[in-house]
């Protein structure tokens, strides 16, 4: 059996209701191991709701979420991180008073199990230092690592946003519109870093930017009105007349 055919993350009949509104209905999403999977859809299609359900920020009204064969529907958000799933946010959620170095140091300490260590000083373990350095380099944050996060350029903040999730060493990484709002000048650096994510990390990308989606993804799911509409390889999705009709239209013709 092809190793890549195994789903690492699955949802079964996932549903979320906010009062009378169905934000997600019967979502059966299957993300294969090692995939570069994109979740797209028009504004208000429920993409962020799905991410929030996957990561445990929201509780589903019905349905199940399975990560590597384990039902995580009722698992607390921080536990899901420990089980190997981390996310970034559409709007930066950073620790503005900490430096990138402190922020990354925090994540690495948490992951290596010294997060509750209250007596040892931060960064006295060489394993922690090595990992911090690796992540700082991978995300090109070396030149700003001592600055307060609040004053970093937006592109660097965006990189840090991904770096914090990556520092959790997830097997599944959820990227929620990573390129949103990044100015053209800083965009290249960001896309290059996303491209360079290790192949063994499964990536679920939520994105509006079709250039990024079609250059990056090997599988695309289209979400419309909270339901999965089409699911397939990029060329199939691009050809699908229904997708063109509801959503892609101009962007593909252009």
């Amino acid at each position: 059996m092809d190793r890549r055919a195994v789903p690492i993350l699955e949802t079964i009949g996932l549903e979320k209701r906010f009062g009378g509104i169905l934000a997600a209905q019967n979502v059966n999403l299957s993300v294969k191991k090692g995939a570069r999977h994109a979740l797209i859809g028009p504004n208000g299609a429920g993409k962020t709701t799905v991410i929030n359900l996957l990561t445990g920020v929201l509780k589903p009204t019905a349905g199940r979420i399975v990560l590597e064969g384990r039902d995580i529907t009722d698992t607390a958000p921080h536990e899901r991180v420990r089980l190997g799933m981390a996310r970034t946010f559409q709007i930066n959620q950073l620790f503005l008073d900490l430096t990138p170095l402190e922020s990354i140091g925090l994540v690495v300490s948490e992951r290596l199990g010294s997060g509750a260590d209250w007596w040892r000083l931060v960064g006295t373990k060489s394993a922690v230092i090595d990992e911090i350095v690796e992540i700082v380099e991978r995300f090109r944050l070396g030149d700003v690592m001592h600055e307060r996060t609040a004053i970093l350029p937006y592109g660097k903040q965006r990189l840090l946003e991904i770096a914090l999730a990556f520092a959790c060493r997830p097997r599944v990484l959820l990227l929620d519109e990573p390129a949103a709002g990044v100015p053209e000048a800083e965009r290249h650096e960001l896309l290059a870093t996303i491209e360079a994510l290790p192949a063994e990390v499964t990536v679920l990308l939520i994105e509006h930017d079709m250039d990024l989606v079609f250059s990056f993804a090997d599988r695309i799911s289209v979400l419309v009105n909270g339901a999965l509409f089409v699911d397939g390889a990029p060329d199939e999705v691009a050809r699908d007349p229904r997708v063109k009709a509801v959503y892609l239209g101009e962007e593909l013709d252009a």
Binding site: S103, W118, A165
Partner: protein, 358 residues
């Protein structure tokens, strides 16, 4: 990739050095503590107010741990101060634990236990909910102490507390000398522990929770348990402060639970600032000094002036005042460096880093 490999050792050294430097004691901090201990010889006639200041400082430090580092606002620190105060009084009165230091640790543990139990109520909800719940808990305890007057002495206070000499050697004297030295040492030890905590990975995770609880959970921080832990530690510190008051005055009364005591604490932190550990200490010194000085000038109306100071601080804004102190610090650092380089022409000048290491 080739250049990256060349850069790594430098970067690793840089990262390690930065993290080490982060927690280093700055010259200003060392000067602060030298002055604090020098006060034992500098102000011999002022032991009582100095002792009260040290206790208030420790009490404020306990609030700073939760407010400044974890963002938990509380009007109920008096609950822990009070319960440990009564506990220390009762065990001394009935001779259950005689040695003051052991009694102090036990009292702190009792307060921490209460902190742990009540943390689950407090950690729900928003700031306003927290203010009300913490206030409610301390009011309830105050009323319980009032109700069981046969144990606590009720409105008359707990009489007949006889505190044994510290380590069997140093008796609490009438002038308050030993009492002050004792409080100062306890304050210092607690401060060192607190400092260790805030510079640890645990402390960093607290700051992350305060900064952005949503993201903290998203990077694997068990937010709730971290808050429970620091609330418990903070309660323990508040309890130690309360037990110190009982031990040094050989008395405990219902006002240990009063709202005023918790509110004063917020004033102290508003004056001194939060989130760098010295806020409570400096705030306590300024608050006690103002209280003493103004109440000498106008015994009846001193609260008017305290109020005025408070309004000015809030209106001018501590940010702006902090900016002034940075200028002053830089000037002091510059003068210090010049003086230093005159004494030791070749040694590198040291900048005066802020106590919070930023």
């Amino acid at each position: 990739m080739v250049t990256m490999a060349a850069v790594t050792p430098v970067l690793a050294g840089d990262v390690a050095a930065y993290l080490k430097r982060r927690a280093r004691w700055s010259p200003l901090e060392i000067a602060f503590w030298i002055f604090a201990f020098a006060s034992i010889w500098l102000f011999p006639g002022k032991y009582l107010i100095l002792k009260d200041t040290a206790i208030l400082a420790l009490f404020a430090l306990s609030l700073d741990l939760i407010l400044g580092y974890a963002g938990i606002i509380s009007l109920g620190q008096a609950a822990f101060f009070g319960i440990a105060g009564y506990f220390a009084g009762l065990i001394a009165k009935y001779g259950i634990i005689n040695e003051p230091i052991v009694a102090l640790i036990c009292a702190g543990a009792v307060a921490a236990a209460l902190g742990f139990v009540t943390s689950f109520l407090v950690l729900r909800g928003s700031d306003l909910t927290r203010l009300m719940v913490t206030l409610g808990v301390s009011l309830m305890l105050g009323e319980i102490a009032n109700r069981y007057a046969n144990i606590t002495g009720g409105a008359d206070g707990l009489q007949g507390v006889d505190v044994a000499p510290i380590l069997g050697r140093w008796r609490f004297d009438l002038y308050g000398h030993n009492g002050y030295v004792y409080c100062l040492i306890v304050l210092f030890v607690c401060f060192v522990i607190a400092r260790r905590i805030v510079y640890s990975p645990f402390g960093l995770s607290l700051r992350s929770v305060k900064g952005n609880a949503l993201r903290a959970a998203a990077i694997g921080v068990p937010v709730k348990w971290r808050l429970v832990a620091i609330y418990t530690v903070s309660a323990g510190f508040a309890g130690i402060a309360g037990a110190l008051l009982t031990q040094t005055t050989a008395f405990c009364s219902l006002d240990v639970f009063s709202l005023e005591r918790s509110a004063d604490l917020l004033l102290v932190l508003i004056i001194g600032g939060t989130g760098y550990l010295y806020g409570g200490l400096i705030g306590a010194v300024i608050y006690k000094f103002l209280q003493d000085w103004i109440s000498n000038l106008t015994p009846q109306y001193w609260q008017f002036w305290i109020g005025l100071v408070l309004v000015v601080i809030v209106l001018v804004g501590r940010e702006r005042m902090a900016a002034w102190t940075v200028t002053v610090r830089a000037a002091v650092g510059l003068i210090g460096a010049r003086a230093w380089s005159r004494v030791w022409p070749r040694s590198p000048a040291r900048g005066g880093a802020a106590p919070d290491g930023r």
